[in-house]
Amino acid sequence: MTLMLAAVSVPLNSVFGTVAAILITRNEFPGKVLLLSLLDMPFSISPVVTGLMLTLLYGRSGWFSSFLAEHGFNIVFAFPGMALATMFVTMPFVVRELIPTLEQMDLSQEEAARTLGANPLQVFWHVTLPNIRWGLMYGIILTNARAMGEFGAVSVISGNIIGKTQTLTLFVESAYKEYNTEAAFAAAVLLSLLALMTLWVKDRVEKAAAAEAAK
């Protein structure tokens, strides 16, 4: 369940985060500052409140409940809800990592690519992406780490149905509360291993970035 959550939220957040970061840095529009602070909201709101918000919106008596019932979607106490909660909580990482990188990027590289005949997609693929790739990578790693470790929001919206909507983190909590210490610690070790793996990947990425900068 934990891995599936990460598998869904990390790519989605990476793609939308990159697009959002590029649009925010390349355009001047009224309300830009407001949008930037909105993006930081998941950091400032308690994850439990996030879970409650989502329940309120999509739950049985929520705003979208009639629409969802009509189309047979089940969001609260199911995987889509948990994915939504995880994505909301991890939303700022990619955007926040990319905005400074994009802001200090020399635009003339992209302009040069355009004069050389590249269409916008080619410019992004050959010029923009290679320039921001380390920042993007770092954002993805942070997103991944948070997606795996998220507790508050997911615990509220998942209902913690054993074997169905229970993530590893939720399992640790419930096992610990039921005095099933061995199981809790076993799961905790597994989580720690995942975290260590994430750290290791991050370390490799940073080394690769440093090597590239030295080249």
Binding site: S108, Q109, E111, A112, T115, L116, H126, P130
Partner: protein, 442 residues
């Protein structure tokens, strides 16, 4: 396919003519002859300028594009032509206006500019910073959208053409190389994204040879010096054989020695390739050395268009006069101006220090010009030149420079010495202070 291969070979042949900076005068002459004959009907390079180049449509008829070989026919590029030298583009800018909306209001960067740039010529856009020269270049490149006005490439209205379809090569002050790609990959980039049907390896080698960077293809831009990077940028801009080369302060980030080297190299390369070139610079020496035609900008307007000689000899406006050389600036009511019998309605008058005729002994008049007495009040040592400040009896001061040799010899002046001088009225120009102001208007 065979045509492209042939093209590349001929291109390489052209390169060998420009065999480095130590090229002899004979070789240059030979190259010039070749260029002349390449123009057909035996006309010299001068008349080639007047000759209208063929439109893209005509070219397509003469040299049908290799359609069906993978998207190549989208581009009306000159790479399809069999000729080695590119024909160069006639660029016409009409009534160009560009306003920027800034937080402080509307900034009028370019305010109604008309320029014609002849095929295969080098045109320099010269002016102080904020005068609109870079904006005009970016408008021609398509990197900025116009507020009003049209841009024509030959007979084609290019105003609304996308950047990638304009077939221009551009070199930026900041090099703008792709740091994650090798030198060879940088040069190849244009060929790849345009899917040009040429032998790319060969082409890259030829171009690196042209900019004298043979063998550095596997390096990364970070491993090169500034001058080398800018040469890579030039090779990259020329890779897909553009008809128009745009240079935005190309040597701005380089030191004086490298600057001069690259300048000589650039002129040679551009003449070999035959591409129409527009260079933006604030370095006058660079503009006058490189360009066939200099366009002087101030505050979004053109002050003067002309050959380097015309601009030096006959400045059209007070701004140009002040901008392209040393000037002395005196009130119109001063003793010197009155005795020179120069009449003007403006409040101030300027003239070049080199137009001062100086005598150490009193004479009433020389060739009908009344002399004015003055005292040497200051002597500044500027290395190879010595600058004297001369004070007239009405306390107006002017500067007068002589070379070190003159100062040590016959024209040596002492502080406090009485001297007599005149300036021909033809050498004077009346102006108001706001005529020479270059601060951008917001």
């Amino acid at each position: 396919m065979p045509r492209s291969a042939e093209h590349i070979c001929e291109f390489a042949g052209g390169l060998s003519e420009s065999a480095g900076p130590l090229q002899t005068a004979d070789a240059q002459a030979a190259a010039a002859d070749e260029r002349a004959s390449a123009n057909g009907n035996g006309a010299g390079p001068a008349s080639a300028v007047a000759e209208r180049p063929r439109t893209p449509a005509e070219e397509r008829q003469g040299f049908p594009s290799i359609s069906g070989s993978g998207g190549v026919d989208e581009y009306e590029g000159i790479q399809m032509q069999a000729s080695q030298r590119t024909s160069g583009l006639l660029v016409r800018v009409r009534n160009m206006v560009k306003h920027f909306n800034t937080s402080k209001g509307v900034f009028k960067a370019v305010q109604g500019v008309d320029v014609d740039i002849e095929p295969s010529s080098i045109c320099a856009l010269l002016g102080p910073s904020g005068s609109g020269k870079t904006t005009l270049l970016r408008l021609i490149a398509g990197l900025e959208g116009v507020t009003d006005g049209r841009i024509y490439f030959d007979d084609l209205d290019a105003t609304d053409l996308a950047v990638q379809d304009r077939q221009v090569g551009m070199v930026f002050q900041s090099y703008a190389l792709f740091n994650h790609k090798t030198v060879a990959e940088n040069v190849m980039f244009g060929l790849e994204v345009r899917k040009l049907d040429v032998d790319r390896r060969k082409r890259v080698e030829d171009l690196l040879e042209l900019v004298q960077l043979t063998g550095l293809g596997d390096r990364y831009p970070r491993q090169l010096s500034g001058g080398q990077r800018q040469r890579v940028a030039l090779a990259r801009a020329l890779a897909s054989n553009p008809k128009l080369l745009l240079l935005d302060e190309p040597f701005g980030a380089l030191d004086a020695v490298v600057r001069k080297q690259l300048r000589a190299g650039l002129k040679e390369i551009v003449q070999t390739v035959g591409v129409t070139t527009i260079i933006v610079t604030h370095d006058q020496e660079e503009a006058f050395d490189l360009a066939d035609k200099v366009v002087i900008f101030n505050r979004g307007f053109i002050e003067q268009i002309g050959s380097p000689t015309e601009i030096i000899r006959r400045p059209a406006t007070p701004f140009v006069m002040k901008f392209v050389g040393d000037t002395n600036d005196v009130p119109a009511a001063s003793l010197l101006v009155r005795r020179s019998r120069f009449l003007t309605s403006k409040s101030r008058v300027m003239f070049r220090p080199s137009d001062i005729q100086l005598f150490t002994e009193f004479v009433e008049s020389v060739d009908g010009h009344l002399v004015t007495g003055a005292t040497v009040s200051e002597r500044a040592n500027l290395g190879w030149t010595v600058r004297y400040t001369l004070r007239f009896d009405d306390d107006v001061e002017v500067e007068y420079s002589v070379t070190r040799e003159q100062a040590d010899g016959r024209l040596g002046l002492d502080i406090g010495q009485r001297i007599y001088l005149y300036v021909k009225p033809e050498a004077m120009m009346g102006f108001e202070p706001e005529d020479i102001d270059s601060a951008p208007i917001l």
